[in-house]
């Protein structure tokens, strides 16, 4: 059975482009232009993954509301924000609402598909016992690449998909400096410096909420970041 991807996007051309791409990848696609339509459909049947734009028709923050309602319906449903808005505040609020990723619209379709695939893979992996080969241990850090889950001192650190890939790229080769371009490639995103910086900042904060003494992600000014054990 095909996985169902719901796309909530008020721009018809974009909506259809995304739908075509996901269909081509073998997903079943439902598209909605506004929140009312989407919620009506979701109350009957939940999709397997939702891609939501923040501003919907006449609701500038409709996507956030939709995310909240959807999260109330299901805790595990992967939700991706795909928006033209790229401000830090939007990203923070989107992720705080429980979205798995926050992406800007200049992301290319293959990158988007890669993320959706990855998220499905994680859902799959969470249902099965973990495979040891895909687990990286770096001191207190445990990274499960299949489940896309990070643990610090045995405690789960909730990372968005982009954040997980950044941590993964850094921790795979501790001590090696990863510049911003490398991190973007690893995370399948095209971001500017400030967004990378705020991603790193968010990662540190999330680890620090588990362990206040965390400082494994080090900035190498002018070059990038590295993982130190």
């Amino acid at each position: 059975m095909k996985r169902l991807v719901a796309i909530v996007e008020d721009e018809a051309a974009l909506r259809d482009n995304y739908a075509a791409a996901f269909s081509r990848e073998g997903y079943a696609v439902r598209t909605y232009a506004d929140r009312a339509q989407a919620m009506q459909a979701f109350s009957t049947r939940l999709p397997d993954l939702a891609v939501i734009d923040i501003s919907l028709e006449d609701e500038p923050e409709g996507g956030f509301e939709l995310c909240r309602q959807l999260r109330a319906l299901s805790a595990e449903l992967p939700i991706i924000f795909l928006t033209a808005r790229d401000s830090e505040i939007d990203a923070v609020s989107g992720l705080r609402l429980g979205a798995d990723d926050f992406l800007t619209k200049d992301l290319s379709l293959p990158h988007l598909i890669a993320r959706v695939n990855a998220l499905f893979r994680r859902v799959e992996a969470l249902r099965q016992p973990s495979v040891a080969s895909d687990i990286i241990h770096r001191g207190a850090l445990t990274l499960d690449a299949e489940r896309m889950q990070a643990q610090w001192d045995g405690k789960v650190v909730l990372l968005s998909l982009t954040e997980f890939w950044i941590v993964h790229a850094l921790a795979r080769h501790p001590g090696h400096v990863r510049n911003r371009q490398q991190l973007m490639d690893a995370a399948n995103v095209v971001l500017d410096d400030n967004t990378i910086t705020s991603h790193v900042k968010r990662i540190r904060r999330k680890f620090q909420s588990v362990d206040p003494k965390f400082d494994a992600v080090q900035t190498v000014y002018g070059m990038g970041y590295r993982w130190v054990e």
Partner: protein
């Protein structure tokens, strides 16, 4: 020329006031002078009228004439017989003496140096070529002074020690004849036994006919020889003399010889032939009662010989205290030399019948009186007008300074009114209800419009980026989809071009939103203490790889420099500075990054060789959406790089400044960060 100077010059125009005052003072002085002259004339006429007919005072001629012996009737009398007596007083006979009115008493020493030099006043008596003498007489304070210059080829002294009445002892002798107040004749003789003081003697006949020659103590004389004779100077009190006076010289060629007698006495009986035409001693005191300081009164004969004078010219009038320096300064502007001359008035003195002129009264006044009056008025007026001028100048200067101050405040406000945060709320002077207030209000309106416009511009980039992003995403996702379709090889080429174009577009979008994102980053930045030197060193090392065509040199302190701030932002700022330096320098150029420490700040400097800053970019370089780049640069720039530098510098409590290198062959951008 500053406003202050202009108004100061305008204030100096009030100096016309004192100038006009000076002119007014001059005119006033002329009027005063005229008035003074008139009053002087009136005074002189009054005094002259009081002297009318007073021949007793003028000529010591009492009303009943005793001119029986007078030979002065030769000249034509002016009018009828009634006037003959008075006229006779005035017309001098050949034997008459007309003494000068002396201003000082001559010393009785036989020398003539202390006598006034007036050749016309001499009386000449001449017997023949070998026998003649000259007489000069003068009156001073109730004394008659007589100077005799006797021509004598053989001066002979009396025999010394002998009897002055023994004819054998007789040398040259001088006889004085005078008629006293009662009309009685007296004779005195002067006999010198040597040069120097000599006595006058009179001959007295005793009861039994014996004669003696006692000394007359009231008369003093002195004898001196001269190169052609001798000189006698003598003094006779006027109280001894009535109206007649004469001198006779007995010239002997040998002691005891027969004399040659000549002079104004009859040689046989020594009768006085000539009159002494001199004013009564009381005339001087009479004049004295009219005397005032600064005035000279003089009574003279109709032909101009001064009979008596009373002089107080030298006495000054005081008009109270005044600032002498100021007064002298003022006088320098007003005085004209001719103003200093004495003024004179003259009035004739008539005889009793008001028919003939018996004398003249001259009144002379110094200009001091009215000059002082004028000076007094002038000083007060000039003080007042100069004070007015000074006050006006000071007031104008203060007003100009105040205006300039307000203008400067307005200028400063208009320069700094527009900040990144928008318009400063309180624009000065807008409440004032004058023209400057209008200007300020105009400025305020203009600036608020400018503010609206710039804030629109500032948000434009962000808005544009946002609005373009959706259609661009449509294009890109369509291209992505198209790529999955079966397209021909030639179509793939166009596809690739379309993709390149869309990527460029998204790069542009990214650049346009940069400032907004930095502002966001600043808003959420956390301050930490970090080592600025380490951050800079690390960043500069990284730039060496990023820009292989440039040589990067860093001049950093050897010790750590702690700074409280956001190291990410500092690096971002340095990124922009280096980008800028790379853009404006040629390949192979050396870019210098320097950290200098000051008391409370750290200064990050980035220098690059290259074209100097054009003069007009001063101060605008760090504004948003502003750039000055050479023509032909096709890369997308939005003039945000240095604006971001400024934002980050301001976040760190500092500022960014750009300047040309001293050699003019490069540019330095200095960012001051507060420590």
């Amino acid at each position: 020329m500053s406003l202050r100077l202009k108004l100061l010059l305008l204030g100096l125009a009030t100096l016309v006031l004192p100038w006009g005052g000076c002119n007014y003072a001059r005119e006033m002085e002329a009027a005063l002078r005229e008035g003074e002259r008139n009053s002087l004339q009136a005074v002189s006429q009054t005094i002259a009228a009081s002297l009318q007919g007073r021949t007793d005072l003028l000529y010591r001629e009492s009303p009943p004439p005793s001119d029986a012996q007078s030979t002065a009737q030769a000249d034509t009398p002016p009018a009828g017989p009634a006037d003959a007596r008075d006229a006779g007083v005035l017309v001098a006979g050949p034997y008459d003496l007309k003494p000068l009115a002396l201003t000082a008493a001559p010393l009785l020493d036989g020398y003539s140096e202390d006598w006034p030099h007036e050749p016309a006043a001499w009386a000449h008596f001449r017997k023949d070529a070998h026998h003649h003498f000259d007489v000069l007489s003068g009156v001073f304070e109730r004394m008659l002074y007589v100077l005799l210059e006797v021509h004598d080829e053989h001066p002979v002294f009396d025999a010394p020690g002998g009897n002055t009445l023994d004819p054998a002892t007789f040398g040259d002798r001088v006889w004085i004849g005078l008629q006293d107040q009662e009309g009685e004749e007296h004779q005195l003789f002067l006999a010198a036994t040597g040069p120097g003081a000599l006595n006058a003697r009179r001959i007295e006949t005793g009861e039994y006919g014996q004669q003696s020659a006692p000394v007359e103590p009231r008369v003093r004389a002195a004898w001196q020889s001269t190169k052609d004779g001798y000189r006698i100077e003598m003094r006779v009190p006027l109280s001894m003399i009535g109206s007649r006076f004469g001198v006779l010289v007995d010239d002997r060629d040998a002691r005891g010889g027969v004399p040659v007698s000549y002079g104004s006495l009859r040689s046989d009986d020594l009768h006085t032939l000539g009159r002494l035409i001199v004013a009564a001693p009381d005339l001087g005191s009479y004049l004295g009662q009219f005397l005032q300081p600064g005035i000279r009164l003089a009574v003279s004969t109709p032909d101009g010989r001064v009979l008596a004078r009373a002089d107080a010219l030298a006495q000054t009038v005081s008009l109270g205290s005044e600032a002498p320096i100021l007064a002298r300064l003022y006088r320098r502007f007003v005085d004209r030399p001719q103003d200093r001359q004495l003024i004179e008035a003259e009035a004739p003195i008539y005889d009793r019948d008001h028919a003939a002129v018996i004398g003249k009264l001259q009144v002379t006044q110094t200009p001091d009186r009215w000059i002082r009056l004028r000076d007094h008025a002038l000083t007060r007026m000039l003080n007042f007008t100069l004070g007015t001028s000074i006050v006006a100048v000071i007031a104008m200067f203060a007003f100009a300074a105040w205006l300039a101050l307000r203008l400067a405040r307005l200028r400063r406000a208009s320069e700094s009114a527009l900040t990144r945060a928008g318009l400063v709320t309180s624009f000065p002077e807008t409440e004032v209800q004058d023209e400057l207030g209008d200007v300020a209000r105009g400025f305020s309106t203009l600036l608020s419009r400018l503010n609206e416009y710039t804030s629109y511009l500032r948000t434009l980039a962000g808005k544009l980026a946002h609005e373009i992003r959706t259609p661009l995403t449509i294009v890109r996702s369509s291209l992505d989809n198209l790529e999955a379709e079966q397209v021909s090889e030639s179509a793939r080429l166009y596809l690739e071009r379309a993709r390149q174009g869309s990527e460029r577009l998204s790069a542009i979008l990214l650049a346009m939103g940069a400032a907004t994102r930095v502002e966001e980053a600043i808003g959420s930045a956390e301050r930490v203490d970090f080592d600025l030197v380490a951050v800079l060193a690390s960043a500069v090392a990284a730039y060496g790889d990023a820009f292989p065509a440039r040589c990067l040199r860093s001049e950093l302190p050897a010790h750590p420099v702690s700074l409280n701030g956001a190291p990410d932002l500092i690096v971002q700022m340095l990124d922009k500075l280096i980008d800028n330096a790379v853009d404006f320098s040629a390949a192979g150029a050396t870019i210098t990054v320097r950290l200098q420490l000051e008391a409370h700040s750290a200064v990050v400097e980035v220098e690059n060789p290259g074209p100097p800053l054009p003069p007009h970019v001063e101060g605008r370089l760090f504004e948003s959406l502003w750039q000055s780049r050479p023509e032909g640069d096709t890369r997308p720039h939005f003039g945000l790089g240095l604006y971001i530098v400024r934002l980050i510098a301001e976040f760190h409590g500092g500022e960014a400044r750009a300047m040309n290198l001293p050699g003019g062959d490069g540019v330095r951008i200095a960012v001051r960060l507060a420590r």
